[in-house]
Subunit: 445 residues, 2 copies
C-alpha cells in the first residue's frame, strides 16, 4: 500500500502575463521548425497553445538541425514579450528563448507523408481523412475541433443553466424514430435491432420526467446519398422542452442558445477564429418566415418555381439565406410551418391548417442546421395519426405509455454539430467538421 | 416574414427567497395529491423542484377530487414559508397556497399501472424497466438521474478547466479496440462493421493533436453474461492525457476529478442526496495497492486463496474495499500493476517487471469503476507486442500512423457512468442507473 498526497496544480494553461524574463519549462510537440544560420524558430504545440520559441545555435545542447517536426520535447527557456504576426501562433505576445531541449520521443521516419507545417495543406478530402491522425495536427484542422468542442460544451452548459437536465438515451433501439429505410441493422444476440436515428422517442418520454432535457450523442443514418451535407454518423445536439405555449418558445431557446455559443467561441477561441479567418455571426433578433412564403419569394425574386414541392431544395435554402441577409439583415432564418406530409407522425399539425405543422427548420448561411417543432402530446391524437399513416400503435406501446399517463405540451429540436461547426468555420463539406467521418465508403481510420 | 425580439428570461428555476406572501403562477405535473375534508395537498413536479401546494376546497375553481396524479396543471397562488419534513419535497421551506388551477392535459386512463406516489415503489426490475416512462416519474428514480446528469456535466467541466479538449469519436468502427468476442456486428452498406467497445484507439490518436482529450459517449459490449455489474450499452467517461511522467499522473487527475464531482453533487443535488439517504464519500488522499498485494491480503486476512488468478474476483474487490476502508480509511482504492496477460496490447509493461503493466483499476465501495493505465507510445514497442500476440499490424495501420510520426508518453482511463452513479446512490444493480438499460433480453422501451 502506498499513500500519496493529492496534487492540486493539474492544469496545462500557462498565463504568460507576469512571466516575462522568467525561466520556465514546457513540454509539447514540435509543430514547426525553421532552421536558420543563427539558430532556429521552433513552434511548440501544447494542449491549448502553439508557442513560438527561439533557439540560438551557439547556446543550446542539441544542434537545431537534429530536431524533427512532431518530436516530443521538453524545453527550458526565458519568456520574452514579442509581437508575432503569424496567426498560427498563439499567444502572439510572448515567445520563449530556449536554453535547453530534451527530446522525449521522436518520429520513427524522417518525413511525414503530408506536410503539416505549411500554411495550407491543400489535400484532397480522401487523403486528408486517410491520414487523419496526422492531418489533424495541422493548426487549422486543430482549430476547427477546438471550436466544435466549445460548441458542445456551451450547448450543455447553457441549457443546464436554464433548467434542462442532461440525459443519455440508448443507441441500440427496437424501432427507428424517423421512419424510412435509412436505418442500420444490427445483430443483437438472437434478435434484430437498429441503431438510433435520433433520440426522439426517448427525449419526449423524458419530458414527462424532467420537463426539460437535452442530449449530446451520436446518431446513425444509413443514407445512400453521399453529399457534402451528409454523414452516416454524426453528433446530434438535442433538446426537448415541456410546458411550452407554442413552438415559438423553442425558437426563442434556440436563438438564445446560439447567442451563448457564439459569445463563448468569441471569448475562448479568439486565436482559432483569427487563424481560420472566420467572421462570427450576430444573432440579435428572431426572424421567421413560413415555408410557403419561401417558395413564393424564390419564385418572385429568382424566377425558380418550386411551389409544388413539399420540401425546400438545397438551392432554395441557399437563395432564401442570401435574400434574408440582404433584406432582413440576418444570417439565421427560421423557416416555419413545413407541410404535414413531410414531417414525422409525432409532429403537431397547425389547428388553423392541418396541412401544415407547427414546426421549423433553422437555416444558417444557406444550410439547414436544425429541424424542430411542437409534438403531439395527447394519446388520442397519436392513435388517430398513426392509424391514418397505417402504423401499428402496438409496435410503439412503450413510447405511447408516456402519453397515456399525462404529458405536457412540448417540443424540441436537433442541431447537427458538424453542420453548425462547418458553417461557423466556412468549410465546404461537413465531413471536414467530423474528426473521423463515416460515409458509404469510409470506415477508417 | 415575422420579426421577434429575443426573450431573455428562459429559465425555470424559481428563487422562492423574497417571494413569500407574493402571488406566482407555475406550471408542472401533479406528482402527488392527497385529498382531505378541507381541501388537498398537491405536490407539483417542475423541471428542478417538487413543490408542496395547498388547496382550500372552499376557495378553488375545481374540486380537488376531480384532479388526477400526472395531470399537467398551471396553478396560481401565494407563496408561504413552511417547514416541510417530507424529503421528497424540495424546496422544503416554502409552499404555495393555491387560488386557481388550470388543467392543461390529463392522463387518458384513471389509474397508472404503478403507483408513483408511494414512498417506495417496491417493483421488480423487469416491471420497473418495462414501465420506464412512468416509473422514472417517481421522485427517487428522478433523483438518481439528476445525480447522473451532474456527474456527466462536472466530468466535462472539470477536465475542460485543466486543459482537456472534448472529442467525439465514431461508434461505427472497423475493429474492436478491446479485442475478444464481445463486439456487436453491423451491416454497413455492403460491408461488415462493428460497434465501438471503447474510444481507445481514437482518444490515443487525439493525444497527438490536443495533448489532453476527453469523451462522454456510449460504448457497446456484447457480453453474454447478465449480471448486476454489466450493461450491453453504457456511457463511458473517458480521458487520455499526454506528457505524463508516470501513470500516477492519471491517478492524480482522476482523484481530483472525483473530488470535483463529489463537491458538485453536494452543492447542486443536496435535495436528491437527502431524499436517497446517500452519504457522499470523501477523497482526501490517494491510496494505491499493487494487484499482487491484494491477493496476499485476501489470503492472509480472509483465508481465500486467489494467488494464482490473473484478475481480481468480484469477491476480492468487495473484501479489499472493506479492508481498505477499515485499515486505510478510504472508500477509493487504486489497484495497480495488473498482470500483462490480462491487459490489452497497448498497455505499457513495467520495465522493472514485464509481467506487470503500469496500469490500474479504481475500486469504489467494492465495485471496479475505472480501468486505466499508461499506453505504449513508440511504434517499435507496438510492433513487437503485436507480433508476440499474433496480431496483424496491417489491420491497425491507421491507428499505428499516430505512433509512426511521434507521440508523447501518455495514458488514460474509462469511468463507467452507470457504475459510478449506482455506487454513489447505493443501487444494488447498475441497470438501475441506466435510463433505458440494454441487456441480452431487453431492447425496449
Amino acid at each position: 500500500m502506498k499513500e500519496m498526497e493529492l496534487k492540486t496544480n493539474l492544469g496545462t494553461e500557462i498565463d504568460f502575463n507576469g512571466l516575462a524574463e522568467k525561466e520556465i519549462e514546457l513540454t509539447g510537440m514540435i509543430q514547426n521548425l525553421r532552421v536558420l544560420a543563427w539558430g532556429a524558430f521552433l513552434i511548440l504545440r501544447t494542449p491549448r497553445y502553439t508557442i513560438q520559441t527561439v533557439i540560438d545555435a551557439n547556446n543550446i545542447n542539441i544542434p537545431p538541425s537534429e530536431l524533427k517536426v512532431e518530436s516530443v520535447v521538453k524545453i527550458r527557456g526565458i519568456v520574452k514579450t514579442a509581437k508575432i504576426k503569424d496567426k498560427a501562433i498563439s499567444p502572439a505576445d510572448h515567445e520563449i528563448h530556449v536554453s535547453h531541449i530534451d527530446v522525449i520521443s521522436a518520429p520513427t521516419l524522417e518525413a511525414m507523408p503530408v506536410d503539416t507545417t505549411k500554411k495550407e495543406m491543400n489535400l484532397g478530402l480522401d487523403t486528408k481523412f486517410d491520414l487523419r491522425p496526422l492531418t489533424l495536427r495541422h493548426t487549422r484542422e486543430r482549430a476547427i475541433f477546438r471550436i466544435a468542442a466549445t460548441i458542445c460544451m456551451e450547448f450543455g452548459n447553457y441549457l443546464d443553466s436554464i433548467g434542462f437536465t442532461r440525459i443519455n438515451s440508448p443507441k441500440i433501439v427496437f424501432a427507428g424514430a424517423e421512419g424510412g429505410a435509412n436505418v442500420f441493422k444490427l445483430e443483437y444476440f438472437e434478435r434484430n435491432a437498429f441503431l438510433a436515428q435520433s433520440p426522439q422517442f426517448y427525449k419526449q418520454m423524458m419530458v414527462g420526467v424532467f420537463g426539460r432535457v437535452f442530449e449530446i450523442g451520436p446518431v446513425f443514418r444509413a443514407e445512400e446519398h453521399d453529399t457534402s451535407r451528409h454523414l452516416n454518423e454524426y453528433i446530434s445536439l438535442d433538446f426537448e422542452m415541456g410546458f411550452i405555449d407554442s413552438f415559438y418558445d423553442l425558437i426563442q431557446v434556440e436563438a438564445n442558445l446560439l447567442r451563448a455559443i457564439i459569445a463563448r467561441i468569441a471569448k475562448d477561441c479568439a486565436a482559432e477564429v483569427a487563424l481560420l479567418g472566420i467572421t462570427l455571426p450576430k444573432l440579435e433578433k428572431v426572424v421567421t418566415v413560413k415555408f410557403s412564403e419561401v417558395h413564393e419569394i424564390i419564385f418572385n425574386e429568382y424566377k425558380k418555381d418550386y411551389r409544388n414541392e413539399k420540401d425546400l431544395a438545397p438551392e432554395e435554402e441557399k437563395l432564401i439565406s442570401e435574400y434574408a441577409l440582404k433584406n432582413w439583415d440576418t444570417e439565421f432564418l427560421f423557416v416555419t410551418h413545413y407541410p404535414t406530409v413531410k414531417r414525422p407522425f409525432y409532429a403537431m399539425e397547425d389547428p388553423e391548417n392541418p396541412e401544415e405543422t407547427l414546426s421549423f427548420d433553422l437555416l444558417f448561411r444557406g444550410m439547414e442546421i436544425t429541424t424542430g417543432g411542437q409534438r403531439l402530446h395527447l394519446l388520442d391524437t397519436y392513435l388517430t395519426k398513426m392509424k391514418k399513416l397505417g402504423m401499428d400503435p402496438e409496435a410503439f406501446e412503450s413510447y405511447l405509455q408516456a402519453f397515456r399517463y399525462g404529458m405536457p405540451p412540448h417540443g424540441g429540436l436537433g442541431l447537427g454539430l458538424e453542420r453548425l461547426t462547418a458553417m461557423f468555420c466556412g468549410l465546404a463539406n461537413i465531413k471536414e467538421a467530423s474528426l473521423f467521418p463515416r460515409d458509404q465508403k469510409r470506415l477508417t481510420p
